[in-house]
């Protein structure tokens, strides 16, 4: 790999990262808070790539240089083309039902000691999947009873093929993404393919089951109505 090619790769990598962070694409991979760092970091890569390229082009024009051009660069630097290509051409979707089916529900790992205050006003009141599951399991649903709740997530199929509501919870980036799963009773969405995003309105039920993958408790939700929605811009549970 030579210096000009490296400078071009730096430029490209910085440019695709800046591009991804100016659209919502970056939210498929990392959390919202990283956006300023991504723009600055990507911008620096573009600037340094341009500077390096400028020196190389100037050298080429003046053709007085060379002493240090003999040093061969290791080929591992070529690999940086891969993330450029992957982001530019594939830009894979956020983790979804495949990950949810492969991994155990995250609730087992959570050792929640915080006390659960009352839900905010609203009818129905929007609530995250992890919040619902924690309140249902660790607080015996005390703060949930008698409320109409609105949850959104994607459909994933349980061990017996029954539809469940799931969302991926991310602590840092998608590499640590783990699903939170909620079982459905009542007006269960039938015939909805996995990975379809839906919004559900329903209420707390004391029914639970266990996730066969890791033995985590899976709380249930009594569904009254549901509708299909678009995948939200921030696909991961906050």
């Amino acid at each position: 790999v030579n210096r000009q090619a490296q400078a071009v790769v730096m430029l490209l990598l910085g440019a695709v990262v800046v591009k991804a962070s100016l659209t919502d694409t970056y939210l498929r991979y990392v959390k919202h808070g990283l956006q300023p760092l991504l723009i600055i970091g990507g911008g620096l890569l573009v600037a340094m790539g341009a500077l390096a390229l400028w020196y190389e082009v100037r050298d080429l024009a003046s053709s007085t240089k060379d002493s240090h051009h003999e040093h061969r660069e290791p080929r591992v630097t070529w690999l940086l083309v891969l993330p450029v290509v992957a982001l530019l051409l594939v830009a894979p979707p956020a983790l979804g039902s495949y990950t949810a089916a492969q991994s155990g529900s995250i609730l087992a790992a959570q050792s929640s000691t915080s006390d659960y205050g009352p839900l905010p006003p609203g009818d129905p009141v929007p609530i995250g999947l992890l919040d619902y599951a924690s309140r249902a399991v660790f607080d015996q649903g005390r703060s949930l009873r008698g409320r109409d709740l609105q949850l959104s997530g994607f459909i994933t199929l349980g061990p017996q093929g029954q539809p469940m509501l799931a969302r991926i919870v991310v602590a840092c980036c998608a590499a640590d993404g783990r699903p939170i799963k909620v079982g459905l009773t009542g007006n269960i969405p039938q015939g909805v393919p996995a990975n379809t995003w839906i919004q559900v309105i329903g209420g707390y039920t004391a029914t639970t089951s266990t996730d066969p993958i890791n033995g985590a408790v899976v709380p249930y939700l009594q569904v009254s109505t549901w509708q299909q929605i678009d995948e939200p811009a921030e696909p991961y549970d906050q």
Binding site: V9, L44, T77, P83, V90, L95, A171, A175, D176
Partner: protein
């Protein structure tokens, strides 16, 4: 389709002796590769659309993107220091008694942010400028693990376990001190064989800065791609039940993550995010991962061999691995 592309990929390396042709070749190959992918890209989509491949690619990109700003800031700072702070400064700043220079050099790592790829050449140049090897090696081990950028990344990666930052700093500092003092007792100067390399940069300081930045970003970035791909592979292809059975065994899980740290060769600015993703493992096992990773891994051992010689690295790397695993386990058991 793959065949001519493979041939042209190897040609720049072969021709690097006759540089005019080789240099142009590399850029052309890159351009051709990108054009080719733009043309056949849409046809690749069904191939990549298998859910497992998609998840792999998502995680691969996630690790790359999450690590990228930290890598860039780290390389930026280490390039500034490498170019604008004279090497003699470090020789003057260190105490003349080697036993004292070791802790001072270790702590100096705090103010010299950079990932491990950056600290290998810095340690080499410190030894060249007359710094005691024990102090330079303590610096080499400490700098990538305990500098503010790496510790900040660790804090971000473990938002619910703030003690992880303390444990990582403490365990890494302890390994650097032990290895430095061990070198004073057992090390022999003739194990280290520095390459005779003329200082090349004839140009301006900005130019040297640009070169240092390009070199470090591309090398560390290249190895980061390997690490991100390995992390994604383990994440997607190794069934969770396997990892759980390893992760539930106390000693085995520590050894498993130490081996993983050596194999993955992830840059220290990014490894905390990978460690966070290995959430089946205990915090102690993941601390061992974070302690070993910046000190001993495949890319570091190869860089150390290139910089200090085989006789050095064949002794130094295994000893460091052992001390790092022990210290990580001890500190993790005590703190986490």
């Amino acid at each position: 389709l793959g065949y001519p592309h493979d041939v042209s990929l190897t040609s720049p390396a072969k021709e690097s002796g006759s540089r005019g042709v080789g240099r142009a070749g590399s850029v052309e190959v890159l351009a051709a590769l990108l054009l080719l992918l733009l043309v056949i890209g849409p046809r690749l989509t069904p191939f990549v659309s298998a859910a497992r491949m998609q998840a792999w690619t998502t995680i691969f990109i996630a690790v790359m993107i999450q690590a990228m700003p930290f890598l860039v800031f780290g390389v930026l700072l280490s390039s500034i220091i490498a170019v604008f702070v004279p090497a003699e400064f470090w020789a003057k700043a260190l105490p003349s008694r080697p036993a004292l220079a070791v802790p001072v050099a270790s702590v100096a790592g705090v103010v010299l942010p950079g990932c491990e790829c950056g600290s290998v050449p810095i340690a080499g140049s410190l030894i060249r400028r007359g710094v005691n090897p024990a102090a330079a090696l303590a610096f080499l081990l400490a700098a990538p693990a305990i500098n503010p950028i790496v510790l900040t990344a660790t804090a971000i990666a473990f938002p619910h376990d703030p003690l992880m930052v303390v444990a990582r700093g403490g365990a890494s500092l302890a390994v650097a001190l032990i290895m430095g003092w061990l070198w004073l007792r057992l090390g022999r100067a003739d194990w280290i064989r520095l390459p005779r390399r003329p200082e090349v940069h004839g140009g301006s300081k900005i130019r040297a800065f640009s070169e240092a930045f390009r070199h470090d970003v591309m090398h560390a970035g290249g190895f980061l791609v390997v690490g991100a791909a390995a992390a994604a592979t383990i994440n997607v292809f190794v069934p969770e039940t396997w990892l759980r059975s390893v992760a539930s065994a106390r000693v085995l899980s520590v050894i498993a993550l130490a081996v993983l740290a050596v194999l993955l060769s992830i840059c220290s600015e990014a490894d905390a995010f990978v460690a966070a993703s290995l959430s089946q493992f205990s915090l102690t096992a993941r601390l061992v991962f974070l302690t070993v990773g910046p000190m001993v891994d495949l890319k570091l051992v190869s860089m150390q061999t290139a910089m200090f010689g085989r006789r050095f690295s064949s002794r130094f790397a295994p000893a460091t691995l052992l001390v790092a695993v022990l210290m990580g386990a001890v500190v993790g058991t005590a703190l986490l």
